[in-house]
């Protein structure tokens, strides 16, 4: 089946899978967003326990999706993996640190003799929520604004060079941190805007999730109050980023010569030239707004079931316009021709074919996640329920 597809079709298929994983990851960042709200929503120890336990039963999904997203990118676009991770070292390391301290914090927070104290683990959760979202958002924005790197595969063979025989080199000593101060084309504004948009989106999604998952009057009242301000801030940063994206020059690929060049309104053009992607994005945006509307103005507690899928669809569409329609998904502003495209950075036809067969189990995976999620969330979480469990966070 897959072996009959062309290499380009397989590359497109894998960009689609990676985009879907990326979109699911952004949705699941609601766990991180919620971690920044523990003290805002929980004024007593019991209330904080409810918030933490509500998130604690989902944190592994986010974590696993992040790991799978990384693994899938490695397998499908290894040159991206080697260039971005080896180059933007400080950004990825900061993200990783934020996730290391998260993994233990739920389990250790309330355990006796936990060495660092409950507050430290809560602080770790806050740091993870703050840095994890902002840095991931900023890193994804560089898919559209570019980074300072060069790629030369012949470096591996040039033993007489004065540099290490490394294929991908980052060309600033800041290894990715420069994304937040690069003034060319006001890239820093664009990158920071998406970082902050993801941060407030994660908080907004978390608040919607709490409304649907927690049965506690005080927490629910505070959730409603917080939702307004966080959703406004999210919309403000995201719309700024999205509108500006439609007007900036993008990194286009000449389909004949494979040369990279700057194209005005590239991302706007991509949406227009790929109407299905445009429709996906519009449906996503409508669902996001519908969920917010129902929660804020109608007082419903099921907004997450609209805003959540809406987030997935919108982010999915954004990833697609970053990589499809002859676009460089990881552009270099140092050397335009070093920019990465789904064609020049992918795995071989054989590997993508083998991996595509593996991808057929994804629906099965989604089905059992759905089953488990429903089984666990049949009833809203309460303090009594947490106290009756032998295992709680």
């Amino acid at each position: 089946m897959f072996e009959n597809l062309s290499h380009l079709s397989l590359q497109q298929y894998w960009w689609l899978i990676d985009s879907l994983l990326g979109a699911l990851l952004v949705f699941l960042l609601f766990v991180q967003g919620g971690q920044t709200l523990i003290y805002t929503l929980g004024k007593t120890n019991g209330e904080r326990d409810i918030v933490v336990n509500s998130l604690g039963r989902k944190w592994e999904f986010t974590f696993t999706t992040l790991v799978t997203f990384g693994g899938a990118l490695f397998a499908s676009f290894p040159l991206f993996y080697s260039t971005s991770f080896g180059g933007a070292y400080w950004v990825w390391m900061a993200i990783l640190f934020a996730f290391i301290i998260q993994a233990v914090s739920y389990e250790y927070r309330k355990k006796e003799s936990n060495f660092l104290g409950k507050k430290t683990y809560e602080f770790f959760l806050f740091i993870n929520g703050l840095l994890g979202t902002i840095l991931l958002g900023t890193a994804v924005s560089t898919f559209f604004t570019g980074s300072m790197f060069s790629v030369n595969k012949l470096n591996l063979l040039n033993l007489s060079s004065d540099r290490m025989p490394v294929i991908s080199s980052w060309e600033t000593p800041f290894h990715g941190l420069e994304a937040v101060w690069t003034v060319d084309n006001l890239a820093f504004l664009q990158n920071l805007a998406l970082g902050l948009a993801v941060f407030f989106l994660a908080r907004t999604l978390a608040l919607l999730y709490f409304q649907n998952n927690i049965d506690n009057e005080e927490i629910n009242a505070r959730t409603k109050k917080c939702l307004k301000i966080n959703s406004v801030l999210f919309l403000m940063f995201f719309l700024f980023w999205l509108i500006r994206l439609m007007f900036i020059e993008g990194f286009a690929v000449n389909p004949e010569t494979k040369e990279i060049f700057m194209e005005p309104y590239k991302y706007f053009n991509n949406l227009i030239e790929m109407p299905i992607v445009l429709i996906i994005m519009l449906i996503g945006v409508v669902l996001v707004l519908l969920g917010l509307f129902m929660s804020i103005f109608k007082g419903k507690d099921n907004g997450i079931w609209f805003t959540g899928p809406g987030t997935v669809l919108t982010v999915f569409a954004l990833f697609l316009i970053a990589g499809y329609n002859n676009t460089s998904f990881y552009p270099s502003t140092f050397d335009l021709q070093s920019s990465l495209t789904i064609e020049n950075s992918s795995s071989s036809h054989f590997t993508l074919t083998a991996m595509s067969y593996v991808s057929l189990i994804v629906p099965f995976v989604l089905a059992y996640i759905w089953f488990a999620w429903r089984a666990m969330d049949k009833k809203k979480i309460t303090l009594e329920e947490i106290e009756s469990e032998s295992h709680s966070y």
Partner: protein
């Protein structure tokens, strides 16, 4: 090459070793305990005995504490392939990335989904669904080990691939050859069975402490019998696949075998060093470690490696300087040929650019003729002894692992025998021995990875890519900073884990949370 930043290479290696070793402190207990818990819960479901539910919940609490920190250290490992070994990521991403992605899709999601039901679903799903979830957590954890060990096995013995000169990387051409690579199969079974051994020893040791304190006697006695049986079968597999691994190493990584045995002069009827100590170095032979004392078993190494006591086992000197009688090329020659391969590939790429077809063809032929030595070319102009791994570390870690493995086998037999006869309370010495074997299990487990990874240095991919050609272009100071940050945070978290574990063990299965949850949940 004069352009190698050796400090960067060493710090990058140190960081990966640090992360891997910390990760491996937690993983084996997760792998083994997950099955032990699943077996305990199965007994509970079959018998309906609430005491078994209590036993299951107690070990589940221990599992949860250990699991979290394993996850924390694991995420770093995956991303370090990119952050610190970027050349490697490109050179083999076509092959290595696939197992990692499959690991995520198949194993991690299974583990993380059903762990939520395992911990929080006691009163939300039926008994059988809960039991199924517990088994799926165990299967998911162990499946994740399969894929990463397949990837590691491939690095020790690359197979199922061809080098593509157009893309300058290795590309997979047979998925099944990668999956069923003999190095991978042995490595997987050896590693997971050794993890079951560690988990069994942990359970036996903790239970022994309870019996010494005359507490939790139901939990302790039942746990010891179950873990002894599990551990016994696991150690049999560990020893069997250890032997299989040695044969694979003898065939594909002869330098590693020579280093593990401290064998410098190759010989037929090569003896196996049962144990020994290195003395001070001979000034006239600076590249050689000498035994101050050793006990050798005649012909055993030849037999162990090739099933033939007359077989020739090459020593370090044969590999570095060559042995014409045995048809072994010297490292000097392999370095020359490797350099020819690298230069020929560069000439091929340049000829392609300038459209010189004849030159391109002849360069490609020259490259293909010398490709098997490709990685050696990076050592052109350097001392070939740089291609010899650290002999002392390889030797000691190998022998510590083997000696402790035999000891564990005896321990399982004793604990099962006295546990089955219900005579453990009278065997204080055995209980203390079981308790103090816990750290030894961790030492043996780590030593196994030290043999595997130090013994193959400097190869990241055997014969194809040395570590000096695999690293990312970073400042040494950047890696130093992250190394010490990792060290500080992992150490703090390890201290936290140990303190929490000890407290939970002191509380036992009669602590409030477990008792209350059993009372509330009843026989559900």
């Amino acid at each position: 090459m004069e352009n190698i930043d050796w400090g960067l290479v060493d710090w990058s290696r140190a960081q990966f070793a640090l992360t891997a070793m910390y990760h491996w402190i937690f993983v084996p207990l997760t792998l083994g305990l997950s099955f032990i818990i699943a077996m305990m819960e199965t007994i509970y479901v079959k018998t309906g005995n609430l005491e078994w539910k209590k036993v299951t919940k107690f070990w589940m609490t221990i599992f949860g504490i250990n699991f979290a920190i394993g996850v924390a250290t694991g995420i770093i490992l995956e991303f370090e392939f990119g952050t610190n070994w970027s050349n490697y990521s490109w050179f083999v991403g076509d092959i290595f990335g696939a197992p990692l992605a499959i690991e995520g899709i198949m194993a991690f999601f299974m583990e993380s989904t059903f762990i939520a039901i395992m911990f929080f679903g006691w009163n939300k799903v039926s008994k059988n669904i809960h039991l199924l979830s517990t088994w799926l957590v165990a299967i998911g954890s162990n499946l994740s080990a399969l894929w990463i060990l397949v990837a590691n096995g491939w690095m020790q013995n690359p197979s199922g691939m061809t080098f593509n000169p157009e893309t300058v990387r290795n590309e997979m051409n047979n998925f099944w050859d990668v999956l069923f690579n003999p190095a991978a199969i042995n490595k997987f079974i050896h590693t997971i069975s050794s993890a079951y051994v560690l988990a069994s020893i942990f359970v036996i040791g903790v239970s022994a402490w309870y019996i010494l304190k005359n507490r939790e006697l139901f939990l302790a006695k039942r746990s010891i019998i179950l873990a002894s049986v599990f551990g016994f079968f696991a150690i049999i597999f560990t020893i069997g696949t250890g032997d299989g691994s040695a044969k694979v190493i003898a065939r594909y990584q002869p330098m590693k075998l020579a280093a593990m045995e401290g064998l410098y002069e190759g010989q037929t009827n090569a003896p196996l060093v049962a144990f020994g100590f290195f003395g001070s170095k001979d000034e006239n032979q600076p590249n050689m470690e000498k035994f101050a004392f050793s006990v050798k078993i005649p012909s055993a190494l030849s037999f162990l490696a090739f099933f033939n006591s007359d077989a020739f086992v090459p020593g370090i000197k044969d590999l570095v300087h060559g042995n014409k009688e045995q048809n072994i090329l010297s490292y000097e020659e392999r370095i020359e040929k490797g350099k020819i391969a690298i230069d020929a590939l560069l000439a091929y790429k340049n000829a392609k650019k300038t459209n010189e077809i004849e030159l391109a063809e002849s360069s490609l032929k020259l490259f293909n003729d010398n490709f098997e030595h490709f990685g050696y070319g990076y050592y052109f102009g350097k001392d070939p002894h740089l291609l010899v791994p650290n002999v002392k570390i390889s030797f000691y870690s190998f022998h510590i692992m083997v000696i402790l493995g035999v000891f564990f086998l005896l321990l399982f037999i004793l604990t099962f025998y006295f546990g089955f006869k219900n005579k453990l309370e009278n065997k204080k010495w055995l209980l203390w021995l079981s308790l103090w074997t816990i750290p030894l299990a961790y030492i043996a487990s780590e030593a196994g990875w030290v043999v595997a990874e130090v013994g193959r240095q400097p190869w990241v991919i055997q014969d194809l890519m040395p570590n000096i050609a695999a690293v990312s272009q970073l400042d040494q100071s950047s890696v130093q900073i992250t190394f010490f940050l990792f060290l500080a945070i992992f150490t703090a978290l390890l201290i936290a884990e140990i303190k929490i574990l000890l407290t939970q063990i002191r509380k036992g299965s009669h602590n409030e949370e477990i008792v209350e949850s059993i009372n509330e949940g009843g026989n559900k």
